[in-house]
Structures are given as structure tokens and as C-alpha cells.
Amino acid sequence: MKPILEVKNMTMDFGGLRAIDSLDLYINKGEIVALIGPNGAGKTTFFNCITGIYTPTSGDVLINPQGKQERINGLKTNIVTRKGLARTFQNIRLFTSMTVLENVMVGCHAVTHTGVMGAIFRGKSTLAEEKFIVEKSYEILKKIGLEKYVDELAVNLPYGAQRLLEIARAMATDPFLLLLDEPAAGMNPQETAELDELILKIRDNEGISILLIEHDMKLVMSLSERIYVVDYGKKIGEGVPEEIRNNPVVIKAYLGEEIDA
């Protein structure tokens, strides 16, 4: 079976700056994969290229959720989302004037259909759909553990909870692959441990594969099945956590001599 996401030979230039340099990467169904590397290595840019925020300069992004491969680079962000790739942002981007529940409800947009006429006449199918959206959103919040905040304004949540809400919102789009950009940033060790469990649960219970950017090595090493390491846009290492931990190139460029995990 083909991997669900396969990136071949991707390059991304900003003017003269090569942020991603012929990168190859794949993710199999049900995997948790981590993408790590020094600051400015191009990790976030990589996410942006996959999700249509940037169009890569060259290379292929292929997805294969249901046994049929499809090339998605150059597609608009909203189309990519509808194809089943959802993401969170390194700098939190919640809908600030909305409540927690509404944020997740917006996430359901991709999987619902009510149009202008439907909204105005509010017929049976519209009402049913509204009900479906609310229930689904609440379910997701429960799974993530945010149900106690359901009617709070998203901006009033503590930082850690906001990161979780981003994940919840992304899950509402029914993705087959979730791209998480530094989900543990700004969390204390206690909260990070909870996040660890949560991500595992998402993969195991929902069957959503995960690609993760993170600088918290404890989280990365305990969660991921495989790890890619990039520096200056190039892949400098690839393998299971144990291999990476002992890879001298990676240690030199990224981890430093001793690891506090």
C-alpha cells in the first residue's frame, strides 16, 4: 500500500533564499512522524507548502487517502483541507471573536453544505445539519478535554488550552492526516505529558495519522515512530528515535551534547 502522504524532491525558494532543498518525505497510514530541526530550518515552511499557503518552487506533494494517489501542490488551502489535510499553527490563529464551540463549528464547514437559501429558509435539512455540527463539535471538544470551556471566548483561554483548541478545530474538518506545528510550545512539562497522551489517543481512536513539528525532545522521542531531521532545508537525518538520538550530525546541529529529557 502506498503512503498516505508522499513528498518528492520538494524545493521552496524565497527570493534568493532556499528554505527547503529537495526534500523527500512520506507518512504511512496510522503513523506518528516528527519533523525536527534547528530554528529556521524550514519546518513551518514545509507545512505551508503542503497545505497550499505557499506553492512549492518544485517537487511533488502526493496524497493517497483511499488507495488513489493524487497530486496536490498548487491547490488552494481550502481545497487541500477538504482533501483531508488539517493543520495547526505555530503562532496560534484562533477566531478571536468566537467561542470555543463556535471555533470548532467553523471547522465543520468543510464537511457541511448549507447555502444562502438554506440558511434563510432554515428548512429541515438545514436544521438537521446545524444539529449535526453542534453535536459533532461538542464530541470533539470532549475528546480533547476542553468541554469545560465550551461557551468561553477562545481568546480568554489559557495558552495551553488554546493550542488544544487548534487541534480540536483541525479535527473537525475530518482529516486523514493532522499536521501539528509545535503543539507543546508554551506548555509546562505537566501539560506536555497530557498532550502526549492526547495525540496517541487521536491516532489510535480516530485513525488519524500525525506529522509533528516540535522542539520538546521528550515529547518527540516518546511519541514518534519515525523522525525526519532537517537543517537549512535539507534532510540531515531520518530514522527511529533511537537512531536520531545517537546520530552525530543531528546532535551537532540540533540536540547539543547532552540531552535533558
Binding site: T44, N48, I53, F89, N91
Partner: protein, 302 residues
């Protein structure tokens, strides 16, 4: 058509553009610093012209020599425009600094109406003749049929003001403070910048350029009334946006481009649709350069 005609239209466009530029400069500075479309900027320009006229008339009647009158009137116009700009910011904009941006815009619209009618009531609704403060230069006579002396002065002043302002922003301490304030007020304060003072200074500088514009333009067209700021303000706003709002050279370039567009369109096609064309041109430029000709592109990273 022949070259002379083209040249005349070119120079006409240049003059008109320079006029827009003198007003647009203040517009763009204020916008740059507090992201406010200062609808009342045109009124500051109008007040500058009125003050200039009043002071000039008083001194003329007192029998001062022409040169002294020009200097005194010019200074009074600048001082008063600055004072109005300063006061306006304190009353109508400062209390709104943390409010939604549109609220400040409405406040600016209200200010514009207020000042217009204030001048109408305090002075007159009539058009007043504005003396030609700039004499016809002897040496320029051979070219006067193409470009009059006041027009020449306007063009030169615009260039000088632009250079001075660019210098101010790029190379002085207050300019540095302005740049910081315009991008992140809290951080600017955390680096020791007095944000309130910087904003006041910006209004004062912007008003001073409006006053200079007010006097020069009024003596070019020879008349003023309380309503003169409105259309000039709108056009200057268009020019500032065309050039990339917030950018000093952008304001001048945008104004010139607008001036030329209107001039050539009138000259070669028809002045009936002059503004239609100017606006269409604006749309086309913004479609290809969504942040204006010299505006900075959106560089916020995802």
C-alpha cells in the same frame, strides 16, 4: 499628436500631481503611524489656507512689504495648521487609540464636518479671492505659457518637502521612533519611546505640510472656501493609496501618477470621464500590486 502638446500635458500632470502630493504626504504620515484614514486632513489644509489669507490681509492693510507679508502669512498658516492638527489628535483620536479602527474613522469624519462648518460660521460660505503670493518670475517669463511661476514653485516645494520628510524618517531619532511606533506601539514604548509624543509630532509634521500645500495651492488657483478640503482630501487619499499608503516617496509617486493619468486622459480622450479613468487605473494597479506601487507587501509570516 505633436510633442509640445504632450509636453504641456506632462507638465500639467506634474503640477497637479505635486498638488496632490503636498496633501497626500500628511495623509500618508498620519496613516503610517496610527492606521487612521484622517478624513479631516483636508480641513487642516483648508484652515492653513484661511489662516494664511487672514494674516496676509491684516498685514497688507497694515502696510507691510510684500515679502514680509508672505513670510508672516506662511508662518502663521503653518503654526495654526499644526496647532489644529495637534488639538484634533488629542480630542478626537487619542481617546480612541484602543477602540476599533472604524470608530476612529467615524470620529475623523465628524471632525471633518465640524471644522468645515466651523470655518463656514466663523468666516463665510463665500469664495474668497486668495492673493497670488508667488509673483511671476522675470526669468521664467519665456516659459510661462507652459508652466506658470506658481506651478514651478509648487513642483519644487513638493520635491523639497519629500526629501526633507524622507530624511526625517530615515535618519533622525524621531524618525526612528516613528518607524517603531507605526509597527508596534507597545514594543516601541518598551524600548523607551514616548509613543504619545511621537504621534503628536507626526500630526504636527503632517499638518505643516498640509499648510504649505494650502497656501501654495490657494495662491495657484486664487480662491478658497470652507469646502475646498473635501475633494482635495479624497484625491490625496487616492494618491497615497496608489503609491502605497504609509510610504513617503509612495505618496509623491502615487500623486504624480494620478496627476499624469488625469492630465493625459483629459488631453487625449475626454475630461468627462477623467475621474472614472483615474479610479479604474487605481483598481488595475492595485490588482497587480495590492499594496500600492511602493507599498510594502504583507510580510507577516504564517
Amino acid at each position: 499628436m505633436d510633442f509640445e502638446y504632450f509636453a504641456q500635458l506632462f507638465l500639467g500632470g506634474l503640477t497637479r500631481g505635486s498638488i496632490y502630493a503636498l496633501i497626500a504626504l500628511g495623509y500618508t504620515m498620519v496613516y503610517g503611524i496610527i492606521e487612521l484614514i484622517n478624513f479631516a486632513h483636508g480641513e487642516i489644509y483648508m484652515i492653513g489656507a484661511f489662516t494664511g489669507l487672514i494674516i496676509a490681509s491684516v498685514f497688507t492693510m497694515l502696510g507691510f512689504p510684500t515679502l514680509a507679508v508672505v513670510v508672516l502669512a506662511g508662518m502663521a498658516a503653518i503654526v495654526y495648521s499644526c496647532a489644529y492638527g495637534f488639538t484634533m489628535e488629542k480630542i478626537a483620536y487619542k481617546p480612541l487609540r484602543n477602540a476599533p479602527r472604524l470608530s476612529a474613522l467615524i470620529s475623523a469624519i465628524g471632525m471633518s464636518l465640524f471644522l468645515q462648518n466651523y470655518v463656514l460660521l466663523a468666516q463665510t460660505s463665500d469664495f474668497l479671492p486668495f492673493p497670488s503670493l508667488i509673483p511671476d518670475f522675470e526669468f521664467w517669463e519665456p516659459y510661462a505659457h507652459i508652466l506658470t511661476s506658481p506651478e514651478l514653485v509648487i513642483i519644487i516645494t513638493t520635491v523639497v518637502v519629500m526629501i526633507l520628510l524622507t530624511f526625517l524618517i530615515k535618519f533622525t531619532q524621531i524618525g526612528k521612533a516613528m518607524r517603531a511606533t507605526s509597527q508596534d506601539k507597545m514594543m516601541a514604548a518598551l524600548l523607551g519611546i514616548n509613543v504619545d509624543r511621537v504621534i503628536s509630532v507626526t500630526f504636527i509634521v503632517g499638518s505643516a505640510t498640509a499648510a504649505i500645500g494650502g497656501i501654495l495651492i490657494a495662491s495657484h488657483i486664487g480662491q478658497i472656501n470652507f469646502y475646498m478640503g473635501f475633494i482635495a482630501g479624497i484625491k490625496a487619499f487616492v494618491a497615497a493609496v496608489l503609491g502605497g499608503i504609509g510610504s513617503i516617496p509612495g505618496a509623491v509617486l502615487g500623486a504624480l501618477v494620478l496627476g499624469w493619468t488625469e492630465s493625459f486622459f483629459t488631453g487625449y480622450i475626454s475630461s468627462d470621464y477623467e475621474d472614472v479613468f483615474a479610479f479604474l487605473f487605481l483598481v488595475v494597479i492595485l490588482i497587480f500590486r495590492p499594496s500600492g506601487i511602493l507599498g510594502r507587501a504583507e510580510t507577516k509570516k504564517v
